[in-house]
Symmetry: C2
């Protein structure tokens, strides 16, 4: 993860250099990825293949049995075992109830101990509390018994899903199985590289594969609609949020008028605060949509959200500040008269250089200070703590770095830098300042604040590369238009091959590097196997992999965190 | 092969039924393919993987050695052996010379035997002939010696190419190796399913892989230019070929004027004969271009030619007869105003129904009679025989069915039928007649005339399916335009989702069926292995595969056909 951001940051410095630099960058990041994969040798995902659309076993009527039969028949020397997925919604709900109960019991007990030490409690109160405590305990007992019953093999076998994780004895076999077509019906026995256990999106895996295309289309349509109509929505909300209107809708706001000066501050800042607030909420909305989309892993969900947020920002920050009319009109115009697009863009871009200098300055300063101070997180945490009452045992501040917010905004700055590198080079010093500040802030955040919740070994890079290519292409389109406006048709036409070359270069990068980000090459896998065999670790690693993929709701849960000093056995484990 | 055409023919009957029929058809053809693959069990291509971009072995400096090292290391239990490709141009040239010499010696010997039996030859003549015969024999001896020397291992090792065929002990391992990425550099050790030995395009495999993208782009551009400017070329050639102009350019043509009536026949038929001739030549030109494109197998070359010819016909027969202006103008118009396209198309289509009835009748009758009588083939054969003097031993008439000519013209008829099914249903009986006649003609041709030169097990089908989908989409676009013209906007808009559904259906077909046409599924491969092992044939099959992929120029060649009654050992073999 760190290495990805490092790659991203060194790219920031290199974003103004030509494409050949980009190629080196891609190669360097691929090398880092391979190196990182070697370091993280005992990873269970190397040994495991995700199998979906498993048909039912004709003999025993179970999916797990079918997986065992299939793989032990067709991968006889290398198949180890399988872990199936179960429909564990019920267990999850019960566990949530049990957790709630435990929290309540905790609170009651704390109260009574405080009462005892305080020695000012009434006897009646104590007896009442004791009663509720025993009631709660009984309830908890019942719940735990129910959960234990649901977790037995017989109860689970009825809730098997046609999805599972097949573990192999060697990395090589797992890599081979993940990359090949198993059945002549290509939509049965779909195999793919398993994500890391902490990276698995368990909820998405439970969605039937038949539904996925529909859900994906729906998500894309939703995200497109949000991008296109965001300006409309924001204008509407801003209209309502004007102080004069607020007074109409919500008469108590009149009280603000009593404090002199406050009303003018509110009138001035409210609309822009609403805009910023909406913009701040969009990444979270996109992430929520991406999570609905049924990706196999959390990293893929974040990558999807990254894509959607990037295009949202390009549309609603870059293009919307360039154009006078609405985004929709402009898009319609570009579709009907595509040849006018470059000159249109060029004239708009050159008029808006000052705006983007301001944008980068304010976004840089406000964004980075926001990132360091984490006000939103603190507020949210305070709200949750004082309303829902979070369990004491939970760690308050362990989040992973929000890629879906960071990467698109940095990529947008790269894009702005690209486009203005030729037209208004004075913007570049500001951008370099922005990137230096960003480097310092994010290095600090990554090292000291955020936790690594999963490790993708640079899977985000190809997308960052794509955003940079979008930036370069947009720069070249602007140049074509600009030369046209300055009545230099020869220069304008000479830039067209440059654009074509950029696109060809992008295709080459995809062919040259992308497969190694997607697949686990056989040579690498076999070499890691060999190293493991030398150290005698291969069996342990395989054994670890074969137990790593257990759904969160089916894990042995310790209902109390270790710091709790409870001695009663009933809440120790299920 | 037969099964492909059968599939194609049953499709002809079903082309007017809805898409669900198409789905069944695809499934049925996939089943036939799987069945056929089972029947053809001992095929060497099942055991073999084509490896390209092999790096040089660091120890021994040879490619073959590198392949052996790599696969025996990473596929330790299943790798059998490898057959490398060599740069055999020189040997090929020498062999051609040797063949020529043998033909000449044959002729001389025949002459002398005829002379002896005729007993009217002069002694001087005989001795002279004997002298040239011994001279030729000496030359041949020298040539054969040279060839033998070039074919030794030492001489060949210097001419190794970084391409080879790796044979595995089991089908399963070959299928796994073909479908996976071997090296973390995805452009090294590129593996793919090997084509059948008779299907390999040896000349293309010798082209360095780096050059291929450039060549492919060049071929696509050439084909596009030919399609776009064909009308211009033909009009130009027709202008020259008018009888009045011919008299100017080629005065001896005046002699035609002496025969009464001939000149008027010529004036009438010459231009249309030129058009038909050009159209007849196009498929061959396209095939030649496709052959330059560096495809791995002959079948892929033919498929490429099919694609190019189909789009050529759609452009130059279907669209060119619809529109009044030039094709280029029309394409430009559609690009700038895409929304006008359907109504434009609809009005043009409904005006030209009569023309297409005539087209299908004449094309059907003339095309099929041409196919049965094979006049072009006979003429070509006569020319070759009397000018270059083909070797006596060669079989004169063994060609495979020209898919690149047959499939596009049949697909075009399907397309015309689709488009006119709604507008002018009277065309359909003619079309049914055309297909029935076609079925009879081609069944006869396939069974009795053409030879099977390679077996693809239905690889052509996905392309035919694609052509049918193009036809259906075009029909729906026409319908949208037609409803618009008849001022029924509701019906027009209601047809748009139908078009979208057709495209979605096409995507579904690609996901559902295409992988099984491209890959060898592991289950299938393992089951065939098992059957072979039961019969104890697996080792023989693997052994056969390990010697099947020898370049034509490196094979042990019998310079004389068995029917020749020669006893002299020198020309027996190399």
């Amino acid at each position: 993860m760190l290495l990805l951001l490092l790659g991203c940051n060194s790219e920031k410095v290199g974003d103004l250099l030509p494409a050949s630099f980009d190629l080196q960058e891609y190669g360097a990041i691929l090398n880092k990825r391979v190196h990182q994969l070697r370091i993280l040798r005992p990873r269970p995902d190397h040994f495991t293949v995700l199998v979906r659309r498993v048909p039912n076993c004709t003999e025993h009527g179970a999916y797990g049995c079918a997986v065992d039969h299939f793989f032990s028949k067709y991968y006889p020397h290398s198949y180890h075992s399988c872990q199936m997925l179960y429909d564990a919604k019920e267990i999850g709900n019960l566990q949530k109830q049990a957790n709630d109960l435990v929290t309540r019991i905790e609170k009651l007990r704390n109260k009574s101990t405080i009462g005892k030490t305080g020695k000012d409690s009434l006897l009646l109160d104590v007896s009442q509390e004791h009663e509720t405590l025993t009631q709660h305990n009984e309830k908890l007992q019942k719940l735990l018994h129910k959960i234990r019953k649901l977790k037995t093999k017989d109860a689970l076998s009825g809730k098997e899903l046609p999805t599972g994780f097949a573990t192999f004895k060697y990395r090589r076999s797992a890599a081979l199985a993940a990359q090949s077509q198993q059945h002549s019906h290509p939509l049965l026995w779909i195999t793919e590289k398993a994500p890391e256990p902490r990276n698995v999106s368990w909820r998405s895996l439970a969605i039937p594969l038949r539904m996925l295309p529909l859900i994906k289309i729906a998500v894309v349509i939703l995200a497109t609609l949000l991008t296109l109509f965001f300006a409309v929505i924001v204008t509407g909300v801003q209209g309502i949020a004007k102080f004069e209107k607020l007074e109409k809708w919500f008469p108590p706001a009149m009280a603000v008028g009593l404090i002199p000066g406050l009303s003018s501050v509110l009138t001035g800042y409210l609309p822009s605060a609403v805009l910023k607030g909406c913009e701040y909420l969009v990444p979270f909305a996109m992430l929520a949509m991406a999570k609905m989309g049924g990706s196999v892993s959390k990293s893929k969900e974040e990558i999807k959200a990254c894509n959607m947020v990037f295009y949202f920002l390009v549309g609603n920050v870059f293009f919307l500040s360039l154009i006078s009319g609405s985004l929709l009109d402009e898009i319609g115009e570009s579709f009907t008269h595509p040849s006018n697009f470059p000159s249109h863009l060029a004239s708009a871009v050159s008029a808006q250089a000052d705006f983007f200098v301001t944008y980068i300055l304010t976004d840089g300063l406000s964004g980075f200070s926001f990132e360091i101070l984490q006000p939103a997180l603190l507020t949210w945490d305070a709200i949750v703590l004082h309303t829902c009452g979070r369990g004491e045992g939970q760690d308050p501040y362990l989040f992973s770095i929000p890629y879906f917010r960071v990467i698109p905004s940095v990529s947008l700055s790269i894009l702005i830098g690209m486009v203005y590198a030729v037209i208004a080079p004075l913007l570049l010093p500001f951008l370099v300042g922005y990137f230096c500040l960003g480097y310092i802030v994010y290095m600090n955040q990554i090292e000291d604040v955020y936790e690594t919740t999963y490790e993708t070994c640079g899977q985000f890079w190809p997308y960052i590369h794509h955003y940079i290519v979008v930036g370069i292409s947009l720069m070249q389109v602007t140049m074509i238009g600009l030369f046209g406006l300055k009545s230099k048709p020869a220069a304008s036409i000479a830039t067209v091959p440059l654009l074509v070359l950029t696109l060809v270069f992008n295709e080459y990068c995809k062919i040259r590097f992308l497969p190694s980000f997607r697949n686990n090459p056989i040579q690498e896998a076999a070499e890691l196997d060999e190293e493991d065999q030398k150290n005698g670790e291969i069996e342990i690693n395989c054994q670890n992999a074969s137990t790593a993929y257990v759904q969160p709701s089916l894990r042995r849960v310790n209902l109390m965190k270790p710091k709790a000093n409870l001695t009663e056995p009933l809440i120790a484990s299920v």
